[in-house]
């Protein structure tokens, strides 16, 4: 008896709860429906405002967002993970309808994503993924950097004719770059004649890449190829090769296809570049958010294609 009554009271409580919730939902629904539908607000904490890549990505977000009348609130963490954490807290406080993040640190970002989850704000990551194991992300939109790395390997193998010693100018701790490098290494495994003799970080900075390349040319004057994980790395290495007046051919392969690198490719100073389509990342991110708003299913990972640029593909000077 007692147990049964207990059961009934439980159900009663549940029912009251449901009723209250229904009223609340109906109320908010009515409130939301009454005025003209409020503009959907999307907040973003991007890695940086300083790289051409992110500027194009942002252009994509803004242009596509405008199409659907979304209001964008874009902030930049400028490579500072702690700053990004504070930034996201502030963004969450303003209760946006969706949050776009490109994490400064793939592991540290977990906590911020959990906070957004608790506030029921759907999170989308662009370019750099959440690898913390915490928090849930609706969708990750990024270049297929692994494929990009494979393409870079393909360029290198073709330019070297299948044999040679290669170095990588790396930027560790960034997932997108890690993917590039693993793709590059994986592709070159099928060429036993190509050896990767060094893998040195220049942190994506041109001045560091130049200094490192000078030292590499001293230490291993025999190298045949350089893979720069971004164009600053490739162009920095190129500067050192030119200054050292290396007589032999050293193949330089870059990544991103910035205008400066394209010019060097035209002049046959850089053999080729893998290019990403950052604008497309921005566009697809907004489309994923739109689909999510409309209750449509969104793929957890949206891979944006990559391509290559060589002097041939540019069609000569």
């Amino acid at each position: 008896m007692v147990r049964r009554r207990h059961g009934w009271s439980r159900i009663l409580v549940l029912l009251t709860d449901l009723a209250v919730m229904a009223v609340l939902v109906a109320g908010t629904g009515a409130l939301a429906a009454a005025p003209a539908p409020a503009k959907r607000r999307i907040a973003a904490s991007l890695l940086t405002s300083k790289h051409g890549f992110y500027q194009e990505l942002e252009d994509g977000l803004v242009a596509e967002g405008r199409k659907y009348g979304f209001e964008l609130d874009i902030t930049y963490a400028e490579f500072d993970a702690a700053k990004q954490a504070r930034q996201i807290e502030d963004l969450i406080a303003r209760k946006p309808d969706a949050l776009i993040i490109s994490p400064c640190d793939s592991t540290a970002i977990g906590e911020s994503i959990v906070k957004a989850n608790k506030a029921s704000i759907p999170v989308f990551t662009v370019d750099i993924a959440n690898r913390s194991g915490y928090g849930s992300v609706v969708s990750h939109i990024a270049s297929d950097n692994f494929e990009g790395g494979r393409l870079a390997g393909q360029l290198m193998a073709k330019a070297l004719g299948g044999t040679g010693k290669v170095i990588i100018i790396n930027h560790p701790s960034i997932t997108s770059v890690m993917d590039r490098v693993s793709g590059f290494r994986e592709y070159l495994e099928q060429y036993p004649g190509i050896q990767i003799v060094a893998d040195i970080p220049a942190w994506g900075q041109r001045s560091r890449a130049t200094a490192i390349m000078e030292d590499v040319l001293m230490m291993m004057p025999y190298i045949d190829g350089v893979f720069g994980i971004n164009d600053d790395s490739a162009l920095g290495a190129l500067q050192a090769i030119e200054a050292a007046r290396v007589k032999r051919r050293i193949v330089v392969v870059g990544y991103d296809g910035t205008p400066e690198a394209v010019k060097a490719i035209r002049a046959s100073k850089i053999y080729g570049d893998v290019v990403q389509y950052p604008r497309q990342i921005g566009v697809l991110a907004i489309q994923a958010i739109r689909d999510h708003f409309n209750g449509l299913p969104v793929k957890p990972y949206i891979a944006v294609g990559v391509g290559i640029v060589t002097a041939d593909s540019l069609g000569g000077p």
């Binding site: 300083k50 030292d215 162009l235 920095g236 500067q239």
Partner: protein, 365 residues
């Protein structure tokens, strides 16, 4: 003009004179007296160490790397590389030495370098359309150097006129100037610089005669440091720089225009940072708004490694040159030895701390 040294000797407390003598090392002088009381070989070695401590450390590092890299390090072409790699830091550290001797610090050098780099690069892309290339390059560089001087003198002005501590004042400039660099460039690199401009950062002097052995940035560095050395040791303003850093109040009482001396030091620091910026954009063939980040720390490290006291009043250009060399040799040598870069930072930090500790011991503190 009256002879500053004589008057200083009469007016200022003895401490100022010890610290303010041209090229003299106040602290070492005092402990040298202690050493003299000891006798024999130990004392002589001790004195040698006091006078040439950092030079010995530098020589030791060079020997170590030569052995470690099986002679690769000491090859002439590598020496040329090292000198070229340190040229920018050495230029910046030159101005920094003046500032630190006055008892201040200049955190804005990296950002000043970036702003000047962007402005000069922009001019270099525009001016050659309006005038012949060579005058365009000279004009762009002069404007860049002047901008550096102006930014430095703004630092000097806020520090002397409003008594804002140098750390705060130059920190503000560092932050603001970095923003300006991004505003001016719209966050994008400025490139397509005239080919002739490459000479400053990548060219070789008398290439046809010597071949690629005398890089232009190294020549610039040597000229700048030698000039600074002469200013510091042989001119009145140089002696005033020491006097202001040694004991500002005493310097003021002895009739030195302290504000003017400080203005000079900060303006000079701006100009040398600007010069670093010009060399950098030529070396990289583009002006980058993010360039020069944490260069202030490298410059301070080189200065401190050279025995310049952060509390002011002592330091020499020879010391700073050795400091910059130690930094450059460590970077290059560890690269050549194949030490991965995380450990490199740890070693660099340890050496900076170790060097300062040696300096403390040397002073008998």
């Amino acid at each position: 003009m009256w002879d500053s040294r004589k008057n200083l000797a009469q007016v200022a407390p003895a401490g100022v004179v010890a610290a303010g003598g041209p090229g003299s090392d106040g602290g070492a002088g005092a402990s040298a007296a202690v050493a003299r009381r000891r006798s024999g070989l130990g004392a002589r070695l001790g004195r040698l160490f006091e006078d040439y401590g950092m030079a010995l450390v530098f020589a030791g590092i060079c020997v170590l790397f030569t052995i470690w890299t099986k002679g690769l390090f000491i090859r002439p072409d590598n020496i040329v590389n090292v000198l070229r790699q340190i040229s920018i830091n050495a230029c910046i550290a030159t101005g920094m030495t003046f500032v630190i001797i006055t008892g201040g610090v200049d955190l804005s050098v990296g950002s000043v370098l970036a702003v000047v780099g962007i402005v000069t690069a922009k001019l270099l892309t525009r001016l050659p359309g309006l005038m012949p290339v060579l005058p365009a390059i000279i004009l762009s560089c002069l404007v860049g150097l002047m901008m550096g001087g102006v930014m430095g003198s703004v630092n000097g002005f806020t520090i002397t006129r409003f008594r804002v501590p140098p750390f705060v004042s130059t920190l503000a400039m560092m932050t603001a100037a970095r923003g300006v660099a991004f505003l001016l460039s719209d966050g994008r690199p400025v490139w397509n610089l005239p080919l002739q401009f490459n000479f400053i950062g990548r060219g070789y002097v008398l290439d046809k005669v010597f071949g690629p052995w005398v890089p232009m940035p190294v020549v610039i560095m040597v000229v700048v440091m030698a000039t600074a050395h002469v200013i510091l040791t042989r001119t009145q303003i140089g002696r005033y720089v020491y006097a202001v850093g040694g004991n500002e109040e005493a310097a003021r009482l002895s009739g030195i225009n302290v504000a003017r001396v400080k203005m000079f030091a900060y303006s000079l620091s701006g100009v040398t940072a600007a010069l670093g910026g010009i060399i950098l954009i030529s070396r990289l063939a583009s002006g980058q708004p993010g360039a020069g980040e944490s260069y202030e720390l490298y410059a301070i490290a080189a200065t401190v490694l050279g025995g310049t006291s952060m509390s002011g009043g002592k330091g020499t250009m020879v010391g700073t040159a050795i400091g910059a060399l130690i930094m450059g040799v460590l970077n290059n040598g560890l690269n050549l030895a194949g030490v991965e870069s995380y450990s490199q930072n740890v070693i660099l930090g340890a050496v900076i701390l170790g060097a300062v500790l040696i300096d403390r011991l040397r002073k008998g503190a």
